[in-house]
Symmetry: C2
Subunit: 670 residues, 2 copies
């Protein structure tokens, strides 16, 4: 039944060879990998306005009349960000061709810059995957609340609920997730361009009002308009660039020719992203949108363009909420893949490389969902509170990735046509424009590095300090994990130590709690092993000892039953001490402890039994050459001759079946 | 280190024979078992006023001027409750003498009324232990909030935190808990009688003002003053009786002579409880206290008697909060004891009978704390919301207990002096007043039964319905659990089925993931067992198969290595299928699966390994005559010759130690 529920929830499991069929087309790839980047337009403009408003102060009604020039700075800031986006896109397009098997910052850095830069990139990317989920979900919930302000008190609960939902969808596997998520992405694009179009027409015809009845955020202290403040606003807006790298991380998910399909998708994405971001910023300026804790800028645009009660207004918000909630999916594709990559290199626990029944990295998905939920709860699902943690990692990985590409291009560029150096030849179509490409990568690396420094400095006190500390801490952990695996591998390598092939004596101890059918099975197994054995009873309950002794004598009637005192009513410690005593009798042999374990048909019945064998087993793992055997003894539900439900042991069931078979055989004979 | 932390937190563990020394004196017994009953005076008066206020309506300022007569009904209601208390006390005093080994309602009912009444009493008591914790803690936190209203938003968090604290204290064992809790009980009594005394003097000298500046609860709709409403107020006030039965449940905790010490403690408790409850109700009337969500009646009394800023006012609240928080301790003594009793009779999971290292029933304590915390969270730590769930179970158990005592007294009373019938003679000092005692028990049973019906009817819609449904549901669960244990005992009883003593063939399968030092150990053990063996590798990762085969050949070089395909990358299922296939070769033998398990020195290192042996072990428990051996292989931290930390296997460590011993022996020889 458990299997059925799992299958209903997560879909049928897939064969390893079915992996190739999971590849996705360009339109689906755009939906899967671009939803993060596209959806960031839903909050980037708003976060620019939040910072600029600090230099205006006051309430909604007067914000634009007194501070129009200041808030209007959002337009040139957005333009600067668009230029940055073009640079990054061109640079990443080169990466996609150079690394057709997936060129995330981690891989590019590992191949070109060495271990530490790769681990820094890995740490930055993992952090940002988690933050993408937290920010996207929080912003999505903010859109829902703009439409239904009554839900405000439940925003954290809604956000965590949505994370849970996306987690289940993703455990089903990437293809289904892609298909499911294609609809919201295109729905969002359709609604947004419709809204911007209608707004533009109304603005050109002088027919577009400004927004009314918004409860703006209120800055009690008005800050002076400094370069620092403008840079802070620029940093916030740079969140529009988050997610651009997703396609280059996920090239392997595309259909062949992978690189070309992925590169095309990247260019299409940026071509959509720039007009969308600039359009939203332009429209926000037109309608005099104000930053608010209750209503998002997208909602203000929709409400002003269509009017508050218009169904199209609700469709805009629904589309925005959907793409944001789905944008988290980018991370669900990327995080487990990167974690598995790092785990395979021995920098994260090996369990992360384990592929689940649905060809996804189940452990990674669960880890991502847990950490993102934690962040949402801690930050109360506030986008503005999460932003300072966010883009620093993105720009750090941009910088590392493009620096790595510069090194790569230089090495490849210096090769003569046809020459192979460290397997590099195949990885790039050698052409004479390599110097131009190198320049692009260097420009990209420098500009993203500058943005990262700006971000770290301007956002340091409001949260970036945490990421600045977190990333080196993560790198240290990666290195420590790696050292452990290397040490274990070395210890287990069978080098230097003679292989122990000696046949050793085996002393069997049967652990006896009470004497009944299960005990008979234990003795039966011990005798079948044909090594010296004795039974051991730990007297945790002194009142029971005499009964156990008597039962042993009458029902087993052979072998030695040792009673171990246990004044502190414990099981593990007296057993441990007794084994050490047996060890002195036989220092080089194996001590073989046999324990029984009653197995019931249902979980609730299993829960009514002590199940102590597991704990005892765990308690003895530290002892050398002490091995523990668990002998399960099943008790089944059966119907007796009157149709009444009863419990029977495995032995009885066998006896019944044998009797039945014999009776049938006899019936056939006659 | 884990052991050290446990000891620091929970104290040294105790020998079974130290159990007798844990007995407590009368003053400590009063503190431990009476804190529940005494502390209920902190809310009983208030809860009467809450109900009566519904017939007054309006706010604090006018409540007494318009509804003085109605609120004044609290005095006669309190008097009626005091009479009921006297009846119950006399009746329970008889129980204490009749059941010197602890005469909770469960035992009295089991001995005199049969299984079902006993289980009803058990269910009622368990429910009420949980509610005692929830109500006492919630009321205690309400007192704290009266003094510090700023804490209001955190009341649920504070309440849950306090439950956690008391849980830790109680896991240390009953004697320490008793000593620790004696101080607050006597502190509370001292402060309350001082306050009532000062208040009385001020009232007699015409010097006691009425309370001011209270935000009273506001009833929008004024209810008519019906008999039903008065009975509802009476029901609420009956919560003053909760906890009276605690002493009779815990007689065994007292020093010898147990019965006399316990009975004296009970009488002393009631002698304190009645003047306290009546005094508080009288004083509430004098100062015109009003029910409020923000300030408790105790706080209003203290504030009016001493003045708001007076240190004595804060001491009153501190004392009340402390005794209430500590009152939960009654349940921590009673709940695990009763649960263990019912578990020993087979009506609850057997784990509940397990005595922890500190002679308390750790599992029961943990269960109690979890359920009480859940209730506090669900009911938002509101006493008024919890009350309708509360007293119904108390009065149900009172009724059952006293009915049982009536049956008991009738049986014993009919015996001639010295005559023994079903072991009853020793259990009661036979005297000629048994008819009087019988009448007392019958009067007690009838009056508590009437109160229970009144409670169930008047509180039905506000929450009592839940308990009315819960108690039969619990009884059904008890019966089902009991049936399971009986069925298992019957199945295991070795009756009717021939004892299987046959020596059977054993086929050994070694589960191989990779080939290294641990694998050598597995093969070493399998060979030492001297039964036919073969190695099995599950090809969850097809890329690895050839390497494993090659390593097997070069490093082990003997035996058969079977490769089991696993297209779905699973381990358990292919292994399961393979074992079923082996089973057909040898239908009656044992199949012995040997698995390795790497054991690290620290938890974090252990967490970096798959630890899949446990899961695989679990996955095979359902298979008959398939036994699983886990062979641990330890990897230790060591220092190499340069003092650098390295990891070495158990084999290397042994080899090193042997070499060292040899070198030392040689040095000694020369």
């Amino acid at each position: 039944m458990a299997v059925n529920i799992k299958q209903a929830l997560l879909g049928r499991r897939l064969d390893t060879e079915a992996l190739a069929d999971q590849a996705i087309s360009k339109p689906v790839g755009l939906a899967v990998f671009a939803s993060d980047a596209l959806s960031s337009t839903a909050y980037a403009t708003e976060e620019i306005l939040v910072i600029l408003a600090a230099a205006v102060g006051g309430g909604a009604a007067t914000m634009w009349t007194t501070g129009g020039t200041i808030l209007g700075l959002s337009a040139p800031i957005a333009l600067a960000i668009a230029v940055l986006l073009v640079i990054v896109t061109i640079s990443y397009r080169q990466t996609i061709y150079a690394y057709p098997n997936g060129g995330g910052a981690y891989i590019v850095a590992r191949d070109n810059l060495g271990e530490i830069p790769a681990l820094i990139a890995g740490a930055a990317l993992l952090t940002d995957y988690i933050l993408t989920v937290a920010v996207s979900i929080s912003s999505g919930v903010a859109q829902i609340i703009s439409a239904f302000p009554a839900l405000l008190p439940y925003k954290v609960e809604i956000a965590v609920g949505v994370i849970l939902l996306i987690t289940v969808v993703n455990l089903r596997g990437v293809k289904e997730a892609g298909r499911l998520f294609a609809i919201p992405t295109y729905f969002f694009l359709g609604m947004m361009f419709l809204t911007l179009g209608v707004g533009l027409i109304r603005a050109l015809t002088g027919n577009l009002p400004t927004v009314t009845e918004v409860e703006a955020i209120h800055h009690a202290v008005v800050e002076p308009l400094t370069i620092f403040l403008v840079l802070r606003a620029f940093s916030s807006g740079c969140t529009a660039l988050t997610g651009v790298e997703a396609i280059s991380n996920g090239i392997t998910a595309f259909k062949e020719p992978r690189s070309r399909n992925a590169a095309t998708t990247l260019v299409v994405m940026t071509s959509i992203l720039i007009p969308l971001f600039l359009g939203i910023t332009f429209m926000a300026n037109q309608i005099h949108a104000v930053p608010s804790h209750v209503e998002t800028v997208i909602s203000q645009i929709g409400r002003t363009v269509y009017g508050g009660g218009n169904p199209l207004y609700y469709l805009v918000l629904a589309a925005t909420a959907l793409i944001l909630l789905m944008a988290a999916n980018t991370s669900y594709a990327g995080f487990p893949r990167l974690a598995a990559l790092q785990a395979a290199d021995g920098y994260l626990p090996r369990q992360l490389t384990h592929r689940g029944g649905r060809l996804v990295f189940s452990w990674g998905i669960v880890a991502l969902a847990s950490l993102a939920s934690l962040l949402v709860i801690l930050m109360n699902a506030s986008v503005t509170a999460l932003i300072p943690l966010y883009a620093i990692g993105v720009f750090l990985s941009f910088t590392i990735s493009q620096t790595g590409m510069a090194v790569h291009l230089r090495k490849v560029g210096k090769l003569k046509p046809g020459e192979v150096h460290q397997g590099l030849e195949a990885s790039i179509n050698h052409d004479k424009r390599w110097r131009l490409k190198l320049v692009i990568s260097i420009v990209g690396a420098i500009s993203t590095f500058v943005v990262m420094i700006v971000f770290a400095v301007t956002k340091f006190t409001s949260g970036a300090w945490f990421v600045v500390l977190l990333i080196p801490a993560m790198v240290a952990i990666f290195l420590r994990i790696n050292r452990h695996y290397q040490e274990v591998a070395h210890a287990l390598s069978l080098q230097g130590v003679p292989v122990d092939t000696e046949i050793r004596p085996v002393q069997t101890l049967i652990l006896v709690d009470d004497v009944h059918a299960e005990t008979v099975r234990l003795v039966n197994f011990a005798k079948s092993l044909n090594h010296p054995w004795r039974a051991v009873h730990i007297a945790a309950n002194p009142d029971k000892v005499e009964t156990v002794k008597a039962k042993w004598k009458s029902r087993i009637g052979e072998g030695e039953l040792v009673i171990i005192p246990s004044p502190f009513r414990q099981l593990a410690e007296p057993l441990h001490n007794y084994i050490e005593q047996v060890r002195t009798e036989q220092p080089d042999g194996f001590i073989h402890v046999i324990m029984g374990h009653l197995v019931m048909d249902t979980y609730w019945e299993q829960g009514l039994h002590h199940n102590s064998a597991y704990l005892l087993n765990l308690a003895l793992t530290g002892m050398d050459r002490v091995v523990v055997t668990m002998v399960p003894y099943q008790i089944h539900h059966e119907q007796d001759d009157d149709g009444k439900k009863i419990l029977v042991t495995q032995d009885e069931k066998r006896a019944q079946e044998a009797a039945k078979a014999a009776a049938e055989a006899e019936a056939q004979d006659s």
